[in-house]
């Protein structure tokens, strides 16, 4: 039984190999839709996963601010705190 389990684990990531961008899935939670809608317009969502979990709330705020002010991300002002909330809760330090 134990041996079977190990093989199952080993094979699991195979499903994601060479997968398209749609295979990149963020954690479920309040605000995920907003993050997907706003961030994925310009870049894949693995940018969020790979930059975790080491940014605190301030760190994610700074990232959002860079994306909006320097990179031109058209994020509605009222959505910014909701996005930061999600990123901090699910991908924060």
């Amino acid at each position: 039984m134990k041996k079977q389990l190990v093989w199952l684990v080993l094979l699991l990531p195979a499903a994601t190999f060479a997968a398209g961008e749609e295979q990149i899935r963020l954690k479920d939670g309040l605000g995920k839709d907003l993050v997907e809608a706003n961030c994925a317009t310009c870049h894949s969502l693995d940018y969020i996963q790979t930059n975790s979990p080491f940014l605190d709330r301030k760190g994610w705020e700074a990232t959002l601010s860079k994306m909006v002010n320097a990179m031109g991300a058209p994020v509605p002002k009222e959505d910014v705190p909701k996005i930061v909330e999600y990123l901090d809760r699910y991908y924060g330090k």
């Binding site: 094979l11 699991l12 990531p13 190999f17 894949s44 693995d46 790979t50 930059n51 990179m71």
Partner: protein, 411 residues
């Protein structure tokens, strides 16, 4: 052993075999690690082996923009294969450039005769120059900074050594006539961000002295073949000794200007704090009171054939292999320590391909006692610079040249 590091390599290997894609030799014998254990947990989770068109499976750090890292097993050789060479883009639109219709536009306020060159004209109109040189992303090893800093979380493989063939940028520019008020040269590639949002286009500038250096090339060949699309087809800049950010890919235009270039990717991006690093090359027209553009690479080395935690027997001969490089002064020594840095012994240096290429090195020893053994490597260059024993922190995570440690188990 960090299981997470190795999982994907194993499964990736199985699937790759089925897809009939080429695998690194070592990957058949051992799984490809997603990176050193010091990377953020989220990076190790999100990374996987994936092949861009025309490329072997590399470590995918991000999908769009594409950022793919070369597994360390490929960095064991003098030249890094084109299809294993790392890929780094900043923005998402990367159109394929057709060689037949491509024209390099050369102009700007500080140029006398604007000109457009076809690929044929570029190749035939100027002296052909060959140069071995290391191309390394400024943020190579960013993922190993403690505390972590945001950005692409590279491990050790955002670099590669290649034999570049092209023409001297200065030969091309001198023909077009550079005016004496020229201050910087500006380079733009075919890549772009999302126009509707005004994402800053990836545009870089060089000081005139570096642009007109005899070793700065417009390259159209890499290791005897045309550049892969992902490494800059049909032509890219080769700026030997300087970090990869200046090596503009899929080159479309060059402008010679009389004032400092102001674009996001020059300022505030790609900056290091003033006076913190021992770099020699300065980009004075871009300096501010607090920071300066990153320029030449700091002296550095990498152990390429030891897996963390690897097991050896007492008395068994161990060959430590690696590469060493710097910003173009040349490697003088690589030293290895087996006693936590108390004593250092010289490694054997491989062939010298010139001061811009990396240098292979090796060190053989026989561990006598059972237990954990730490192997450390330290490179020094010909102007007396050496790797740092304490990481020099900076906001964007550049110039990671901390002396590397690899632990093996003698048992």
């Amino acid at each position: 052993m960090n299981r997470r590091n190795f999982l994907k390599g194993v499964s990736g290997g199985l699937v790759l075999g089925g897809a009939g894609l080429a695998l690194p030799r070592m990957a058949l014998a051992m799984p490809v690690s997603m990176g050193p254990a010091g990377l953020p947990a989220g990076t190790l989770d999100a990374s996987l082996l994936d092949a861009l068109p025309g490329k072997r499976p590399l470590i995918r750090r991000t999908f769009r923009a594409p950022n793919y890292e070369t597994p360390v097993a490929y960095l064991n050789d003098l030249y890094t294969p084109n299809d294993a060479f790392f890929v780094r883009y900043h923005v998402s639109n990367i159109p394929e450039v057709a060689a037949e219709s491509w024209k390099l536009r050369i102009g700007g306020e500080a140029l006398q005769n604007p000109v457009e060159l076809t690929l044929d004209e570029l190749k035939r109109g100027f002296e052909r120059v060959e140069l071995p040189a290391l191309c390394m992303c400024a943020g190579n090893r960013r993922g190993l900074f403690q505390p972590h800093v945001p950005g692409v979380q590279w491990g050790n493989g955002a670099m590669g050594n290649a034999r570049w063939v092209g023409v001297r940028l200065r030969d091309v520019l001198n023909k077009a006539g550079v005016r004496k008020e020229a201050l910087e040269m500006v380079f733009d590639g075919a890549d772009s961000g999302i126009a509707a949002y005004k994402t800053p286009d990836f545009v870089k500038s060089l000081p005139m002295w570096k642009a007109l250096d005899e070793n700065t090339l417009i390259a159209f060949e890499m290791n005897g073949a045309a550049l892969p699309h992902w490494n800059g087809f049909p032509a890219r800049l080769v700026v030997p000794g300087w970090v990869g950010t200046y090596w503009v890919k899929n080159l479309m235009s060059i402008e010679v200007i009389a004032k400092p270039f102001e674009g996001f990717w020059m300022k505030p991006a790609y900056r290091i704090p003033l006076g913190k690093f021992p770099n020699v090359d300065r980009f004075i027209t871009q300096e501010t009171a607090v920071n300066t553009p990153i320029t030449d690479m700091v002296v550095n080395s990498l152990i390429t054939n030891i897996e963390e935690g690897q097991r050896v027997r007492p008395g068994q001969s161990v060959d430590v292999k690696g590469v060493a490089w710097d910003g173009g002064y040349g490697i003088r020594t690589v030293e290895v320590s087996l006693d936590e840095g108390q004593s250092w012994r010289p490694a054997t240096l491989g062939q010298d391909l010139g001061r811009f290429s990396w240098r292979l090195w090796s060190y053989r020893f026989k561990p006598a006692r059972r237990g954990k053994l730490t192997v450390m490597a330290k490179a020094s260059n010909r102007i007396g610079q050496t790797q740092t024993a304490e990481l020099i922190l900076n906001p964007a995570g550049y110039h990671h040249n901390l002396i590397q440690k690899a632990t093996i188990q003698v048992m």
